[in-house]
Symmetry: C2
Subunit: 218 residues, 2 copies
DNA sequence: CGTCATAAGTGGACGCTGTCCACAGTATCT
DNA sequence: AGATACTGTGGACAGCGTCCACTTATGACG
């Protein structure tokens, strides 16, 4: 028979078209899910399209390549990390300018970072696995965005300097060593060589790192 | 025609067999080459076999899977890093026990680490991209090996403690924060978000990190 | 309101990858 | 010398990223 069945051609050959941008957003969300479960390598384009319920090629209407999709997923993962850091800082009570509170905020930001790396290893790895380009927090602040890990860290360090905990002349550029320790610890104890350490040892290392930072501020 | 040509069956169907272990070693060497050029993801089994001049399946006589090959490559990359650290330390003159020399050795070890990360980004990434398992330097020293990054770092820190530069009560476990700063810096300024910083800024960061470490030792 | 360009979906194909199976020589051990 | 393990080959499969040709719904414009 030549005449098609009761279902219209539109129904058979073209899945109901979704609202504007829905497929793109869905792909990123699916990619985020995959990244959460298996890191950046698990972000496979065809699987993402399957989750959205669309044919593989549809992805190419929204991303030029798999790498571009991955870049979007990375950005999303990084934003989630930044948000958790902000939330951690926000939970700390105490006036701005209070030295003790400022110290606690610095601790909170580091803790949030490490917690994220441990609770969401896949997302954490993905956040730093961007395939090319892109400035997170521009090295020289400037026009940059504030919803970024580096931005949050800078804010807290500024507060520490204002409160007199951190000497003014040591403030400049110190965000990088501080970021490095925490990031390094997260990487080494996460997917790195120091993974599968007993939790006790891990917390001991956290403590060590904390005092390591404190010592270098004074 | 049914009768085969002048070339013997052995020649046509089976390439000259290589000496014992040559294929395995060749595969690791080829993998190392690929990793050097493109990081862990570039270590593709079929390409490695092609470089060795053997059919893809031959690899499975020596490795259970691509991941196992990658693990061997990772171990080799890590060993190269460790060797460079050792070489860097060895270049520093000065008696064991001399505080100034000990300090210089600590600097040298960090510099070697960072230099390796920058001169061989692919190998560096590969060294820390092992797909599973394995203890590099066992967390609690013990039976471990000494030809490992952590081992070298520990040796230098022990010397610093013996020389009185590093307080005894702060020696325990301090290798981890120290390793973390350097590793974190290497990752962030390497493939991480702080890549493509001008060289001047990079060296400034190196300097900052050095003083950061020094401050926290005293 | 009708026309029409364009965006957004489909189907099919290609080359590449990791991996599995069956087979064939070679090396080694008794 | 003969049995047996070892190491290489050939062919196949599914899954991946990507390209091309085609169709249709959507939105802008006269």
């Amino acid at each position: 028979m030549i005449v098609t069945g009761s279902r219209s051609v539109a129904e058979t050959r073209q899945a109901r078209r979704r609202p504007r941008g829905a497929v793109r957003d869905g792909l990123v969300a699916a990619g985020l899910e995959l990244a959460r479960a298996g890191g950046p390598d698990a972000v496979v384009l065809r699987e993402a399209t399957r989750m959205v319920g669309v044919v593989p090629n549809a992805a190419y209407r929204h991303f030029a390549s798999r790498d571009e999709l991955l870049a979007a997923v990375c950005a999303a993962a990084l934003r989630e990390l930044a948000d958790r850091m902000a939330a951690g800082v926000a939970r700390v009570r105490g006036k701005r300018g209070d030295p003790a509170a400022a110290r606690r905020r610095l601790h909170a930001i580091g803790t949030a970072y490490l917690d994220f790396a441990r609770q969401e290893p896949g997302l954490f790895a993905t956040a730093f696995a961007l395939p090319q380009q892109q400035a997170y927090g521009a090295p020289d602040g400037g026009t940059g965005q504030e919803r970024t890990p580096l931005g949050h860290l800078r804010a807290v360090l500024d507060e520490l300097a204002d409160a007199g905990v951190l000497q003014r002349r040591r403030r400049d550029g110190i965000e990088y060593p501080v970021w490095s320790v925490v990031h390094g610890l997260a990487v080494l104890t996460g997917q790195g060589p120091l993974r599968d350490l007993p939790d006790g040892t891990r917390h001991h290392l956290d403590e060590l790192t904390r005092t390591f930072i404190d010592e270098s501020l004074a």
